[in-house]
Amino acid sequence: MSKTIFEVKNLEVSVEDKKIVNDLSLSIKAGEVHAIMGRNGSGKTTLANSLMGHPAYTVLAGKVILDGEDITECSPDERAKKRLFLGFQYPVAVPGVSLGNFLRTSLGFVRGEEIPKKELRKLIKSEATALNVPDDFLSRSLNEGFSGGEKKRIETLQMQLLQPKVAIMDETDSGLDIDALKLVAEKINSLRSPDRGILLITHYQRLLEYIKPDQVHVMIKGKIVKSGGASLALDLESRGYDEFAGASNG
């Protein structure tokens, strides 16, 4: 039986004294893909950021456990070194830092060792090519001047390189055209393995056509109000979120 690789226990999160995530629990077994679906403003991105340890989000209660270790108090870089990954919905631009050097620095920290330049260059270029990320992107400033779809491919590239135990992908499908969506989904699928968990956060069922989740959770007002199999996403698509909104009140 698979072990639990990622667990969120009764998590409550506030931003500027406003509680956004409310008593949320989630358990992902190694090898599983879970999807959280919710309408705009339901707290999905707050959840994603707080799981990664964003200092602007205050954890009022609950725990986050990665591969058996409580990481609730860990800083974002400590979480990353423990192989938690967050693919951002809106990756922030950092002018003046080239993507190539950023990837090199990040890999050095996460792996905890200096990787020979030649080896690293080969690895980065190989993964970049597989994601249709052109060479010249690597010398450009991080996330600056890229289209939404290009940014998402760069997020996926980072996920591939960092080989996380648990990857949280926040609305990875937004901004992607059909071909790019298929490519990114293919990469996420390739990351599926018996010792890894994936948490997808999305509005739509579209992404789930390419990445079949083991479980789907419906999030309303900071709470998971319904969980089920992959078919739940189809239910949502046909019935909308309103039907589930009542559950959060009652």
Binding site: G53, V97, T105
Partner: protein, 379 residues
Amino acid sequence: MVELQLPTAKDENYRYVSLRDVAWTKQDSTTVLKEVLPEDWSSIDADQGLRVLLQGAYAKPQVLEDKDFKGVQLSVEARPVFEKFKDDFFCGLIGEEKTLVVKVPRGFNSKKVLRLSDVVASGVPTTIHRCVIEVAEQVDLVIHNDLSNEKKANDHKSSFVSILHFEIADESRVKFFIDQSLTTSTAFAFRHSAVVGKNSTLSYWGYHKGASRGQHRVECIVAGEGGHSEVKLGVRAQNKDAIDIWAQNYHNVKNTTSDTKVWNVLEDEAIVVFNGNIDIGIEGLYTQAYQSNKNLLLSDKAQVHSMPKLEISTDDVKCSHGATIASLDSDQLFYLQSRGIDGPTSEKILVDAFGYTVLSEIPLGSVRNRYLGDEGDFL
């Protein structure tokens, strides 16, 4: 020792504080000019290349106050001692007042960067370097002015004064970069000016990190139609550093352009004052002039006083000026940290990135790499 009196934002007479008094202080005769490239100058024939003469003439600089230009110019009265060098295009003049005059001939194209090194000697209270660079028509020139202290100068308080004037004739391009690695016990005062001729360009870069007190003043008169001046200055101030930056561009002929970018990174209790001015006279039709000052504060006790200004006396110009003062972006920090990069390294990356847009344009690879490391070299 001459103490530089840095002005404050409240000082009404701010623009006339101190430098003139400092500049004309009689100096010790020990050293000013240590090196002028090309290193093999003595082997170059006067007809083919550069020639340096380090002594044997006398020059007397004068300060001229001119209402039209609102600036200071240097007037040099040179009297070559050696007759045979009198027509040379590159002639160093060092007399009692120690002024170097560089004459660059028409059509000269520097194959490599000319390096002007100033070394503040240990035990010398005030070192003054005066230099006039006269650039003839159709010249392409790159100069690096490198400032440092002599070894063992750390325990010695001293002042370094640099007075530099460019006179650029028509159709020429001059790139100049000055950076200092003076010790914290050294104060500096730069008074640099330029007159840019028709269809000519001056690209001026300056970078400061080290000295605890200083004033850097750059004034450009874009005097010829089609002329362009570009001034980029960066300051990394720490501890109780107090740095005063002036950047002024004057336009009083039509169809001229200028672009000034000043960025400052401040830590600890450092103070930086920025005064920027674009002054367009009544003849300055169709001028395009831009000025920006960006400041990154890394400490609650650091202070920036930013005063970008426009003075426009004509119509039909395009100008902008502005200033930003910010601390590190928390979302950028989070992004870097979410990729495993620890807090201090993330902060350093963002600080370096802040100056990247200026530093990455330094025309000298060796100097650029000094500040940017192997950024860009990886792939």
